[in-house]
Symmetry: C2
Subunit: 524 residues, 2 copies
């Protein structure tokens, strides 16, 4: 169908003469709020989040124990500018990929994998570079080496009209080092040590990632080291084939387009989990689709038929081998390391699925006493009572707690039944949701949708740890009562013994063994 | 800086071999929730919103009084599929632009204009086509004519990998008609007649757009016509030069890059509002920037210097000639037409600015009695008491009311002072925010950020209309009391007159003039 030139110039032709195409960078420049750049405090925390997430992912992907350092400082000449420096010890970035990694949106290595990971879209860190550029006018400075003896030093700016990164003043130095250092200069940001600021964000990151060492320098020069509590690098999550119950027709068509299998039958077994030849026969029978044809010939109607057949067939639950929970012991280490509490307990629940076929795991931890229940130690805002810290795939969720399934599940618990007054108890409650598809409520990825299965599972995990806390608190009360009782005996038994001895004219007996017995009577 | 091939293959080289670029369509396919496609009800309303918004904008832009028809029907073969048909009488779309308008994201005629409009991003309607495609597998059907005697009929699918629209089975018919008809087949949607469904969305659209005629056919065949209440097409909003107080350094540089002016001084006067030669001199003095240089030579530091000089200079308030409020009389017509209330009152407040230089106008309307206070007439969920309906540039805001500045302003009112019990009064409160930059809280564009100036202005507008309501309600009470008093006199005066007359043995007097006097005494 070609455009027929028409002698009559219509109104529409006139109106459409300004029809133009724009770049995705230009779109997010105008809609920075979509990426979390809203308000001075949140904007700064978003930059720290994007940088730290990228660094931890890069180190883990390379099998390196992550050591991250974050520094935020005021830029002297202009007090309104802040500089954020994030450095890691990961694999470094090959020179040719620097403009792509930091300057081109929707580019990356992680976009097409069905696995649990922190970042996925190839937008996050480019968004931070852009935010720096549009608020301070400064390029990002990237210093990186892949360990090949050369350290690349490059300033990167984004050509917003073209969605392209441009390297300015690139130079190379000799040196033995491996890792990446990113420096961003920002305006329209504010540093505070509140619940929503970078300090608490990093502290939460340290709790959920006990294998990561984080060094943080605040604008006033305060140095904090969140030491790692374990030297074990988490196993990398594995890509997982989707489960038949969790797939939509459109997804099936996209998979069929890219498969190497030669028949639909082979394709279903190869690309979906829990698919056996026996199940394929059931699909064939129920859908009536000829499964010997080529996957590329799959039509929409057939895909719909197959998907609706899936729903009628019994399958094993989705595989969860690819999911990587933190682990109860590691969560306890992390909470102990950072909060130094008197009691801590954590659980990793068995995998469940939501929307039929999307597997997830919930982990919960509870810490009592010590630094628990306090948002940030030292100066800054401290909260009293229960402090709920939320995570998705180990990444802290700091904002939008109101609409989050984790928050609503925690609120639905009758805490008095566990001997806790949530308004005053020194308590930190930790919840981590692990999934290849976290059901976020919005683009900001700070809040989890109230899927019924997720809600129930979070509730169950919280009750698991709350029960252990109740046991601890009751034991503590009993110990206290026993001590009180023992101290009464200690005080009065010697007097009674003395009086009794003098009354009967006998020598005062040794009451120490008796006191010991009284004090120890409940240890049995 | 070129990429030096290094003999040593590093870990990083291995990790980066999968680095790929993706299309913006692919991004939004995976993140459809960012565009409002979340939940079955909201997804359907979002499709209706995108279609109707496009249609009204297109008609107004062409100077045509908009007549829109919307039809939602079940697709027979498969009860889970719905078809949405939206037809307008606007200018039509030239054939060559069909793939771009319906199949390419971030393309359009409205992206670079500093003016008030409904859609702006070139994403909305493409998102609806994509949602249809990924849920039902069906292309969009477009029927359009620019009035040149040819009607183009095309099926459009999006090539998600390339972010391109493809026309299938395009054909042309002869015919005298002008307009566009879009048909989308959808799955994973649900039709309900609730506050959040298409019926209420269209009803709200009709109230705020009394010049638009909307015909709506529901899946059960029910036909509703929202008749237009006025034949006046709103004047098109005009692009407005930005005000110096509302501009950021980055914006100034972008403007300088595209200007036709030869000097910075000329550029400032040409591209910003409220800029005179005198003000330019002040800028020169305060910033120390040489304003005789070419705009293209403007550096970031100079731009920052100029922007900070702006803040120290007194300017007239931002121009508001480009803003197009609905107008109090039109709001009242709209509310009368749709709600048929016993009392209605509306105000359009004078323009204000937020964040220093971004102009906006708040309008409020209140309706009492009749259909007011009810979300949807007939079947479906009806609310009791105050019904708040929110708008931004005449487009209904249906979702996310919790975090919206309009909601919080309405809640902050002490309604008892206005003689209203919000839990029971048959009351509809209308608020419209007019601005070239509506400060939305998120990408869903359903909620307005709590900017202090906006909050205060919405509050003031609501109190304006609430005062009129109070006057009406008090008058109503007085009339009622007077009627009661009059009826007492009417009942007893004749008896008293008779008794008195018989007592004194006189003829009964004519008390009608007296009764009239009593009843009318408060009319003065």
């Amino acid at each position: 169908m070609k455009y027929a030139v028409n002698a009559m110039k219509t109104l529409a032709d006139e109106l459409f003469k300004d029809f133009r195409e724009h770049s995705v960078s230009e779109f997010f420049r105008k809609n920075a709020a979509m990426l979390g750049y809203t308000g001075k405090i949140r904007s700064l925390t978003t930059v720290v989040h994007e940088g730290v997430t990228n660094s931890i992912d890069a180190a883990e992907e390379a099998g390196i124990l992550p050591s991250i350092s974050v520094m935020i400082k005021r830029v002297d000449e202009n007090l309104e500018h802040l500089k954020v420096v994030i450095e890691d010890n990961a694999s470094g970035i090959p020179e040719e990929f620097i403009p792509g990694v930091f300057g081109k949106m929707l580019a990356g290595t992680k976009l097409h994998r069905n696995m649990q990971s922190r970042g996925q879209q190839g937008i996050g860190i480019v968004g931070s570079v852009m935010f720096g550029q549009i608020t301070s006018g400064r390029p990002a400075t990237v210093v990186t080496s892949t360990g090949n003896g050369e350290i690349v030093h490059a300033n990167v700016m984004i050509d917003v009209d073209k969605n392209e990164g441009k390297v300015l003043n690139g130079k190379k130095l000799k040196g033995d080092w491996q890792g990446t250092r990113l420096e961003l200069e920002l305006k329209d940001v504010a540093y505070v040590r509140s619940r929503y600021g970078p300090f608490n964000y990093l502290r939460m990151t340290a709790i959920a990632n006990p294998h990561v060492q984080i060094t943080f320098v605040e604008p006033d020069g305060t140095l904090t080291v969140f030491e790692r509590a374990t030297d074990k690098i988490p196993e990398r999550p594995k890509p997982m084939a989707p489960h038949p119950w969790g797939i939509m027709s459109d997804d099936l068509l996209v998979l069929a387009k890219h498969t190497k299998s030669r028949t639909l039958a082979g394709f279903l077994v190869a690309e979906l989990s829990r698919m056996t030849k026996g199940k394929v026969k059931e699909v064939q029978k129920l859908s009536g689709v000829d499964l010997n044809k080529r996957p590329s010939e799959l039509t929409w109607e057939e895909a719909e038929g197959i998907v609706s057949a899936f729903k009628q067939i019994k399958f094993m639950a989705p595989p969860t081998a690819g999911l990587r929970p933190i682990g109860a012991a590691e969560i306890e280490s992390g909470m102990r390391q950072i909060l130094n509490p008197e009691f801590v307990h954590a659980v990793t629940r068995p995998p469940k699925a939501y929307r039929g076929g999307i597997p997830f795991i919930v982990e919960a931890g509870i810490a009592y006493g010590g630094g628990a229940g306090k948002t940030a130690e030292g100066e800054g805002i401290e909260t009293e009572g229960l402090d709920l810290i939320r995570f998705a795939n180990r990444a802290p969720l700091v904002f939008d707690q109101g609409g989050c399934a984790i928050t609503s599940a925690a609120r639905s618990i009758d805490w008095r039944r566990y001997g806790v007054d949530v308004a005053t108890a020194p308590l930190t409650l930790f919840v981590n949701l692990v999934s290849a598809y976290v059901p976020y409520t919005s683009a900001g990825k700070q809040s989890i949708a109230d899927e019924p299965e997720v809600h129930e599972e979070v509730r169950a995990a919280i009750m698991d740890v709350a029960r252990e806390l109740r046991r601890y608190l009751y034991r503590k009360i009993r110990v206290k009562e026993r001590q009180q009782r023992a101290s009464i005996f200690e005080r009065y038994l010697p007097i009674i013994a003395k009086k009794a001895a003098s009354l009967v004219g006998k020598k005062e007996p040794d009451i120490k063994p008796l006191l010991k017995k009284v004090a120890g009577v409940e240890d049995a």
